[in-house]
């Protein structure tokens, strides 16, 4: 296999192999917790932890794992990290734990994590696997936060940016404006639109992702047509 650059692998995970828009995997959490930017960020962080952990471990153990029982072993590894992140959230970020609900334990059956373990980490050394994990996680996070922001803006008419921050020794998701250095950001960025409540309800989630995927498809179709024309096919 040709040597791939660390950064190249990360970028591939974000764009070419974007787990949500291109691979269409792991949709359940994407739709369920994308009601707001804050929830989306929390889910993305939890997901990143599991994704990185599982990719590193699977990649480290790839020579020891017998191919016949690889899937159960992947699930066990993933499950360990999911349980860890579940406990971490419960202990340090109770509000986020409440908001994400059963979707944290459900990362264990998220097709992206197990899919990457099978398709990538099981065949590549640790470093590229970490890169892949980071790339896929960022791709997932971008999709999640994009959908979350769109739904929050259209559904409530404003966007509340938050960050994971520790204030007075208490870890939590705080508005960006209250974090030193970001005071120029308003508490709620409001948009001059009439809020459509349907966007924060479940149908809104379906509508948002359908519209985004349509956009993605149109763009990639155009690119493909151009390439085919270059190769001399009649379209």
């Amino acid at each position: 296999m040709a040597k791939k650059s660390f950064v190249g692998e990360i970028i591939r995970g974000i764009i070419k192999d974007n787990p949500v828009f291109v691979l269409v995997l792991g949709l359940c959490p994407v739709l369920a917790v994308s009601t707001s930017f804050a929830n989306a960020l929390g889910m993305a962080l939890a997901f990143t932890f599991v994704m990185l952990g599982s990719n590193i471990f699977v990649s480290l153990l790839r020579k020891q794992i017998p191919p016949g029982v690889r899937i159960p072993i992947f699930i066990l590894i993933i499950c360990t990290f999911v349980t860890m992140v579940d406990m971490i959230l419960e202990a340090f970020l109770p509000p986020m734990y409440e908001a994400l609900g059963i979707f944290v334990p459900l990362i264990v059956v998220n097709c992206i994590v197990i899919g990457r373990a099978e398709a990538y980490a099981n065949r590549n050394p640790v470093l590229p696997s970490i890169a892949d994990g980071i790339g896929i996680s960022i791709g997932f996070a971008v999709a999640l936060m994009l959908i979350g922001s769109i739904r929050e803006i259209l559904g409530t008419g404003g966007l509340k940016l938050v960050m994971l921050w520790s204030e007075a020794g208490k870890l939590g998701f705080y508005p960006l404006s209250s974090i030193p250095g970001f005071s120029f950001v308003p508490e709620v960025i409001s948009f001059p639109i009439e809020p459509a409540i349907v966007m924060v309800t479940p149908p809104g989630a379906f509508l948002t992702i359908a519209a985004l995927m349509l956009l993605f498809k149109i763009m990639s179709d155009r690119k493909r047509m151009k390439q085919l024309k270059k190769e001399g096919y009649e379209i």
Partner: protein, 206 residues
């Protein structure tokens, strides 16, 4: 001291049933099991097979996991230690093994059934709707009877949405409405069905 919920249902079963089937529908409102929804609803035959398999596995996993949780893992159990953090791993283990067992059995005894149902079984082991229903059962603190009813109703809820969407999509694809052929179409169809459910139950209060 945490007490183990009883075996016989003490809850009012009707709201549980309607909740699982409509107002908290697994596919449309809770967003669980969407991979199979998007992939299989282009064809009503495959949707039928998948719905049956999911309903069966959901009900059976509720039957299997409830005793394991309350008699082995919960602090009120015979072991007396708080092992609840093991729940995810234990449930996955049980569901996956059970699905594998069912696959073995129907493959041996009913090849026709295996051909129509068996191909969906591997999909189910990692279907988040199944793990979701057993986790919900624990979270809600249901009694044994109620948890089985809840799982069955959730399966029925999954089934009707699958079949309704498949019917719509199949007809639209046949009429040549390209919008409904791919993943995108599945989501547009889901938007409409979800709107119906949400709007109906925001008007008709239970």
């Amino acid at each position: 001291m945490i007490e183990t919920p009883g075996l016989m249902p003490t809850e009012d079963l009707f709201p549980i049933f309607v909740n699982a089937m409509f107002t908290k529908n697994f596919l449309l409102i809770m967003f669980l099991g969407l991979c199979s929804y998007v992939g299989l609803t282009t064809n009503s035959e495959t949707s039928k097979g998948m719905s049956m398999a999911v309903t069966f596995v959901m009900t059976m996993s509720a039957i299997l996991t409830w005793p394991i949780y309350h008699y082995l893992l919960s602090p009120a159990s015979i072991i007396g230690k708080d092992l609840t953090f093991l729940r995810t791993i234990c449930f996955i283990l049980i569901i996956a093994s059970f699905v594998q067992l069912v696959e073995f059995i129907i493959r041996r005894f009913s090849p026709p059934l295996y051909k129509s149902l068996g191909i969906y079984l591997p999909l189910i082991a990692t279907n988040c709707a199944v793990l979701g229903v057993v986790l919900m059962n624990i979270q809600e603190g249901f009694t044994y009877g109620a948890s089985i009813i809840y799982a069955f109703a959730a399966g029925l809820g999954y089934s009707w949405v699958m079949l309704a969407t498949a019917a719509v999509r199949e007809k639209l694809i046949m009429r040549g409405v390209d919008l409904f052929s791919g993943f995108i179409g599945a989501f547009f169809a889901a938007t409409m069905v979800a709107l119906i459910v949400v709007s109906y139950f925001s008007v008709v209060k239970l």
